[in-house]
Amino acid sequence: MNLPAPPLVRLEEISKSFGRVRANSDITLDIRAGKIKALLGENGAGKSTLMSILAGRLQPDAGKILVEGEATRFPSAREAIQAGIGMVYQHFMLVDAMTVTENVFLGQEGGFWLRPRKMARRVSELARRYGLDIDPFARVSELSMGEKQRVEILKLLLRQSRVLIFDEPTAVLTLTETEQLFEAMKQMAGQGKAIVFISHKLPEVMSVADDIAILRNGAVVDTLEAGAVTSRADLARRMVGREVVLQVDKGTSEIGPHVLTVRGLETGALQGIDLEVRQGEILGVVGVAGNGQKPLVQTICGLTPPGRGEVEILNRPWKDFFARYPSDDTLSYIPEERISLATCPGLNLVDNFLLTTRSDFSRGPWLMGKRARGRARELIRDFNVQPSNVDALARHLSGGNLQKMVLGREFFRNPKLIVAEQPTQGLDIAATEEVWRHLLEARKRAGILLVTGDLAEALALSDRIAVMFGGRIMDVFPASDTRKVDRIGLMMAGITA
């Protein structure tokens, strides 16, 4: 008879507070080599804090970290990395101006000289072995979110980390990419690495985890083996502490006139895009990240001019429309980057509200502060934004609450065309449900272009679906066309029906 091996890493009674908020209280957790451990919990449950402590980015107020039975302290990320603990952050830690290879090798021990070609070969090898498709010479600034994440993973792979922590890794991935990631995670676990998978997506946790620890309000409320999970509903109940049903009733809505027409649009990354959106419908654009979704959105929203082809917004040519961009009753953009593009992190919610909505709240050069405050307060209440305090700074809001605040702001302008980019990325179940409800509500008055990497989301909300691959639209079809819906995966890989 043999004794069970000591866990590779053991967190013992870890506590951490931020001001009066207790992010972690007395958490004890074992992480074992060769296993995939899922940390399941809603936003704000304390998952990321706990793992930042393990990765040396935060210091616990109390508690111990034991690596192979020995008490260890990680004053900074460097010590954690040396102990073989690496993390793929939700917000990527990449240097945009550098190449993939340079980023992967940043901070690696080694000689004084760099050997770019040899290093690139090393990156390609690793990438191939784990099925992570990447160009080692590409600049990070040109990569999609999915590709950036692969760079983060490659960084850990190169470091031979023994514990790999993934913080909500699938939030930015498409279905195919997610499958590839899980495959890679299983391979790494198979080679004796310990994987920690932070998530709030039940099906993913159920499909990939060996052990599951459920966090709620900063404490571990349950630990169980994946085999012991009876159903998704059971897991959801343990996580949320109440029943949840994630389903939306799409209903029907009146189809109106065209609000967006794109004909033969060509830019560097786009190769002849044709699509149209009418009032009262949601057109879901799906595809693997980096297949032209970003340039398409940027052109439609006026950030980059169209190269060749025509873009008509509310029946006005692109140039004409953006030359005199009327702020109300027209176009709203809900960008993927909530914190840098949609809001100013250092401004309070009133000022952020006024960022895109000024016309009703100014007289001459003066802003009408009181009126704006009043309106912002109503919006925050209507859209259930927490904390419900208009003086809170944008950067202090969680992702879900910030997104609701952005939706509230944009919908207040009564847009006729809404471009929503990954609107529920990184949000928990409750917030996702709310965002979906708001989008469906807005559909009654507007046409919505929904760009998403989450196929489930596209299917739940869209009236029609467009699949993008390699800067082209592979096909556009009604979401009710089950035969085509079944082929979406193939189309996303560039295979025509």
Partner: protein
């Protein structure tokens, strides 16, 4: 006849461009690490005085030159202390450094105005100086100019092909990512500030030891500011800095010749040429839309994480 004038003009271009080249390279090195140092003018002036006095009292121009660099490094260390040590505002600290350095050098240098010190004289490089035309332009100079030829390619190699260069650039582009990768960004930023100060000090010492051979007040005459502007012109690239420095050196040499020839233009107008060119160059380089090549975290302090 005109051919000879042209060659001597180009040779003078190299000479008057060299102090600016040293300072520009120094500032590129500093800015790549994410620290903006607007104190170059002050550092150069202090370096010039330190170099001059060092050579005067030790009798060794080489010692004087090194001393110029060391004093530059020391003054830059003050900037590092304020910005890296205490998270002070980089713009304010840099401006204060210029005021401090200028005042200090003028005050301490007053007794020596008009005096000379042993300096560097031209010594044609063996073999290379016999290359037609190019030899005459580039290899009939003093030792310090030959030294300055080596720095841009070395710096380029450092940035591109060494681990430390990668770390230094990362500290300027995305310090948080560098820290997450386990690098000590403060160390890289210190290295950037100190090396940059050392090079700017050398540039100043070149002025007093090889360019004029004597001390006057206000010796640098705004060259430090031109260097700061040239960093933008060079898009933070050490090889492009050569082009910029010689362009300005050329304009300076040209206006001297023009004055010497007794051109029918007010001399004050001619003296303005290099500074006017600075403005034009800055406008042009931002106009081409490449101003975004600046290190993303240039001028932004990194707060130590909790």
């Amino acid at each position: 006849m005109t051919w000879e004038i042209l060659i001597s003009l180009l040779a003078a271009t190299v000479q008057s461009g060299t102090p600016i080249l040293y300072a520009t390279l120094g500032e590129i090195f500093t800015e790549r690490s994410g620290i903006l140092n607007l104190g170059v003018e002050g550092i150069m002036l202090v370096g010039a005085l330190a170099g001059f006095l060092g050579a005067k009292f030790t009798g060794s121009p080489i010692l004087g030159f090194v001393l110029g660099g060391v004093f530059g490094l020391g003054l830059a260390g003050l900037h590092g202390l304020v910005c890296i040590g205490f998270n002070g505002n980089q713009v304010v600290s840099g401006l204060a450094l210029t005021i401090l350095g200028t005042g200090l050098a003028n005050y301490l240098g007053t007794p020596f105005i008009g005096q000379s010190a042993p300096g560097f004289s031209p010594m044609p490089a063996p073999i290379l100086s016999r290359i037609p035309i190019l030899g005459e332009i580039f290899f009939h100079h003093d030792l310090l100019i030959y030294l300055s030829y080596l720095i841009p390619p070395l710096m380029w190699l450092f940035f591109r092909y060494t681990r430390w260069g990668l770390g230094l650039r990362a500290a300027g582009e995305h310090p948080e990512a560098a820290a997450a990768a386990g690098l000590n960004i403060y160390r890289f930023r210190w290295a950037g500030v100190l090396t940059g100060g050392f090079l700017a000090g050398l540039g100043g010492a070149y002025l007093s030891l090889a360019y004029t051979h004597l001390w006057t007040s206000g010796l640098t005459a705004g060259r430090g500011w031109i260097a700061v502007a040239l960093v933008i012109f060079a898009f933070w690239h050490p090889l492009r800095a050569v082009l910029g420095a010689y362009l300005f050196g050329g304009v300076m040499a040209f206006q001297f010749r023009l004055q010497a020839l007794g051109a029918d233009l007010p001399s004050s107008l001619l003296l303005m040429l290099p500074y006017g060119l600075t403005i034009i160059v800055l406008v042009l380089s931002s106009w081409r839309g490449r101003g975004d090549q600046a290190p993303a975290f240039l001028g932004i302090n990194v707060e130590p994480s909790e």
